[in-house]
């Protein structure tokens, strides 16, 4: 990350219960990271203070001392106003700024315009609350910030993160235990996938793909010539599929037609692909267009490692055999590479592959399967040597990139704002009871008993104006498509805002969302788009219900 070098959780999960102050922004922690939320609740019961900033009254706000219910997409304003308040109260950590950072004068000058009065008008959060949150954060030593996709899944996602990084550095909450800036990663191995090099920007271990010396190192290890420079990121690859410049895809363990934004457009491109390999454990929308389907193994059927959100490398161990002729995915990939003519080594197990990773990436050099087997708590990278204990919190001796950089951020409104035709602001997210496209959790009775179908949270006044009641069916339409959902009149959303979960295939929410990406990260704006709600008349509602039932219970 550009601010202080590493877009990961700087600190550790076990530190949470001993914190004195937690600022949670854009993270529905109780539902997306339930066990981290448990630690937060334990801290709260111990007397720690909790402030939550989120457009919705999420579950965690019930435990919070203060809820900053900002308008969607106004995070930059909120955080910049907090910084301005900290400067005005004389609470900056000048020593940290002088020793460890650069760019402070520019940031300070830019912050002048973010006054509390305008902040209240734009974010909708009372000025006194913004100030109180800022002052308490700045004054408390054991104070940490947690964020997740509510911050990143915007067209201005990196601006949001830079703003938070500025806030952390100006108050000196970096490089200390019980502090830091903590990105809660959403998926089991989302950190590990990037760590391992499944990113166009880096080779394994965050070694820049554009660096000729790094490329030379990998060419020597992999005994082949490699292409210079960085490749396309996911958003660009998907754009390429849509415009026809990408002709072949190898997709492992993802249903791109459910998970990617604006799927209507993408589906057309996927149909036109000259070749598509899909490797997964269940058939899904993407499989329908595949030329080859490889049956993979799930986590209970193979060995390897996952890296969690606090950089903790932990073992995945095989408990049972994959069904039929399904195989561990690492075997499939190695076999495929050999079939394609590349001399991939004949790895005898996943441990051998990890040894290759450790030999190429200094930050994992001290980690091995054998060592992990003796370490029930896992090992947190960086871990450069076999006798290194791993790293509980980062930036101990100043930011890892040398000097932390304050990056000036300014407010840019969301790409698509509500208007006359599409008057509601739609945000998407997760519920506790399901996971992503629901391929796993929708095959379990209890998770379905808790939340069994797609719903849309609507504010009571909006529902009244639309003439819909709790349980009515509506069609949700954006400029890109439409889906049906059941209305849940909810006190959680603000007036003018609606919210839907992303787990239900038949309601494929990403038919609505925008595929405009953040210019730096390529992350799509899943969090804000404009929609309209059209109540379905009785017969139409009955038909929609029948369709839903048919998808859910295909045999019936």
């Amino acid at each position: 990350m550009k601010s202080f070098g590493a877009g990961v959780m700087s600190n550790s999960i076990p530190e949470i219960r001993d914190l004195d102050f937690m600022f949670v922004i854009g993270s529905n922690t109780t539902e997306a990271h339930p066990i981290i939320a448990m630690e937060m609740k334990v801290a709260r019961q111990r007397g720690a203070r909790l402030i939550v900033a989120d457009p919705r009254k999420i579950w965690l706000t019930e435990y919070a001392d203060l809820h900053l219910q900002l308008k969607p997409g106004t995070d930059v304003w909120l955080v910049n106003a907090m910084m301005k308040a900290i400067i005005d109260e004389g609470l900056v950590d000048q020593k940290f700024i002088d020793t460890h950072t650069e760019g402070w004068p520019e940031l300070k000058a830019n912050l002048a315009k973010f006054n509390l009065t305008d902040a209240e008008r734009i974010t909708g959060v009372p000025a006194a609350h913004i100030k109180a949150a800022a002052v308490e954060y700045a004054k408390t030593r054991k104070a940490a910030i947690y964020y997740t996709l509510g911050i990143t899944e915007h067209a201005h996602g990196t601006d949001n993160i830079f703003s938070l990084a500025n806030l952390v550095m100006m108050t000196g909450h970096l490089g200390v235990p019980f502090g830091g800036l903590n990105s809660l990663r959403g998926q089991n191995n989302v950190q590990g996938a990037t760590d391992a090099g499944a990113t166009p920007l880096y080779y394994t271990g965050f070694q820049p793909a554009g660096d000729p010396a790094i490329r030379a190192k990998f060419e020597a290890a992999w005994k082949t010539e490699l292409t210079a420079g960085v490749g396309k990121n996911l958003n660009e690859i998907m754009k390429g599929v849509e415009d026809g410049s990408v002709k072949a895809l190898y997709v492992m363990g993802e249903d791109i037609l459910i998970s990617e934004p604006n799927t209507n457009h993408l589906e057309h491109g996927v149909k036109e692909l000259e070749f598509l390999i899909h490797q997964d454990i269940f058939m899904n929308e993407t499989t329908k267009h595949a030329h080859v389907v490889f049956p993979g193994a799930n986590f209970a059927e193979k060995d390897g490692v996952f890296t969690n959100t606090d950089r903790r490398v932990q073992r995945v161990r095989k408990a049972v055999n994959p069904p039929g002729n399904a195989r561990p995915d690492w075997q499939i990939l190695a076999d495929f590479a050999r079939a394609a003519g590349y001399a991939m080594p004949h790895y005898k197990d996943a441990g051998e592959i990890y040894a290759e990773i450790a030999s190429l990436a200094p930050r994992y050099a001290g980690i091995s399967h054998d060592r992990l087997d003796e370490t029930p708590m896992g090992i947190q990278w960086p871990c450069p040597a076999p006798d290194h204990p791993g790293t509980q919190y980062m930036h101990k001796d100043g930011p890892v990139k040398g000097k932390g950089t304050f990056i000036v951020t300014n407010f840019r409104p969301p790409v698509e704002l509500p208007d006359k035709d599409y008057p509601f602001n739609l945000a998407t997210g997760r519920v506790l009871y399901h996971y992503n496209a629901g391929t796993q959790t929708r095959r379990d009775s209890g998770t379905m008993a808790k939340v069994g179908e797609c719903f849309i949270e609507v504010h009571a006044e909006d529902a009244k104006q639309l003439g819909v009641n709790d349980g009515d069916m509506v069609k949700v339409v954006s400029r890109r498509g439409g889906i049906k959902a059941k209305v849940w009149v909810s006190g959680r959303v603000q007036k003018g805002c609606v919210w839907m979960p992303l787990h239900f295939t038949e309601a494929a929410i990403n038919k609505l969302t925008i595929d405009v990406g953040d210019p730096l990260a390529g992350t799509a704006e899943y969090k804000v788009c404009a929609v309209n709600l059209i109540p379905l008349r009785e017969r139409a509602a009955a038909q929609a219900e029948a369709e839903l039932q048919a998808v859910r219970h295909p045999q019936a």
Binding site: W222, T309, A339, G378
Partner: protein, 363 residues
């Protein structure tokens, strides 16, 4: 501030930390004191009286789960104190009088575990007449995961305290009075109609198997062939869990997921509904079991691995030759292991000279 001092337990020196309870200090030294209501994640309740010990200078026996160690303290457990032994023999008998017993008169084996059974084997219980308490379960609780068996409940309140202190949803509580006291909910509603998030922490902490997993009813601990410690495959917290493997119709299957002991792992023995219960997908009938290729009829057909790999390699190479590596995309997965993501990047970069590799990590 001193960080360590010594107490004496059964004549042996034991190191303790300031503020630490006697039972925690003993645990570290491997000295076993029986407990029922103790869970190191919870505040001490001192409710079950199983852990009483003699403390020098104290007239009464004291609960070692709540009694703080102080420098020089002299403690006697059942190993050296006949008084504690007598206390345990009587107490275990009282618990057994209000518990389901097997043919040998011992507390029954349960799907979960039964610490009362273990304790009964370590003591000399006196046969007392069964009291058959009128404790009831919630009638008509249709939740699919959590079963409450009132005849096995000893009212230690570990489940309700866990629900309050750790999960913090307060869905279950001790309710009713006297001998009718039971584990209830507001209005004795089913768990699906309460604030319960079905995390199953109550099952994990229950010492006597009064709370068990509905999906694993009938699977006793001795049927479990092995427990495999692994990392949960749902969110990014990285909870450690134990996959319990047993033979079902001759095939080894994951039949249950249990927590590692508290204090050992990053999740401190806690799991959520998805980690603990949503494992049906592992052996689901919809799993893809054969490699398939799309043939001239436009349909997918099951083929051998050799054929599928050859077909796939040729298909990708054809596109690479015709349109160049820029026309390829390799989408890896945050659901797969680090090793697999590494190999996907190697396939893209080394086998196809393409830098277009990314995982859903971006989103």
């Amino acid at each position: 501030m001193i960080d360590h001092f010594t107490i004496t337990v059964d004549g042996k020196p034991v190191a303790a930390k300031p503020g630490e309870t006697v039972v925690r200090a003993c645990e570290r030294e491997g000295i076993h004191i029986p407990t029922l209501c103790d869970d190191k994640r919870l505040d001490p309740a001192g409710a079950c009286r199983a852990c009483l010990v003699e403390v020098d200078g104290q007239r009464r026996l004291q609960p070692s789960c709540a009694w703080k160690a102080t420098p020089g303290q002299v403690v006697k457990t059942h190993v050296t104190s006949p008084r504690v032994q007598r206390h345990q023999d009587v107490l275990v008998s009282l618990y057994m009088a209000d518990h389901k017993l097997d043919a040998e008169g011992l507390p029954v084996e349960t799907e979960n575990r039964n610490e009362l059974r273990r304790w009964a084997l370590d003591t000399n219980p006196i046969a007392l007449e069964s009291v058959e308490a009128p404790r009831v379960a919630r009638a008509g609780d249709t939740n699919p995961y959590i079963q409450y068996n009132p005849e096995l409940c000893i009212l230690c309140a570990r489940c309700t305290r866990y629900c309050d202190e750790i999960e913090a949803v307060n869905a279950i509580t001790l309710t009713h009075r006297g001998s009718e006291t039971t584990i209830g909910t507001a209005g004795m509603r089913g768990l699906l109609e309460t604030s319960c998030e079905l995390c199953g922490g109550c099952i994990d902490t229950c010492p006597t198997g009064a709370l068990i997993e509905k999906k694993a009813i009938g699977i006793l601990p001795q049927q479990i062939e092995r427990k495999v410690r692994t990392t949960c495959n749902y969110c990014g917290v990285g909870c450690q869990m134990d996959l319990n493997v047993a033979k079902v119709d001759g095939v080894e299957k994951v039949v249950r997921v249990t927590s590692p002991p508290p204090g050992e792992t990053v999740n401190d023995g806690n799991l959520c509904i998805k980690g603990r219960f949503a494992y049906d997908f592992i052996h689901h009938k919809d799993r893809i079991t054969e490699p398939m290729i799309r043939k001239a009829d436009g349909k997918l057909h099951a083929v051998s691995w050799d054929e599928a790999l050859k077909f796939a390699a040729e298909g990708m190479k054809r596109v690479a030759q015709r349109h160049g590596p820029e026309s390829m995309g390799f989408i890896s997965s945050a659901r797969c292991t680090g090793e697999e993501n590494f190999l996907m990047s190697k396939v893209a970069r080394a086998a196809f000279k393409s830098g277009n590799v990314h995982s859903c990590a971006a989103t």
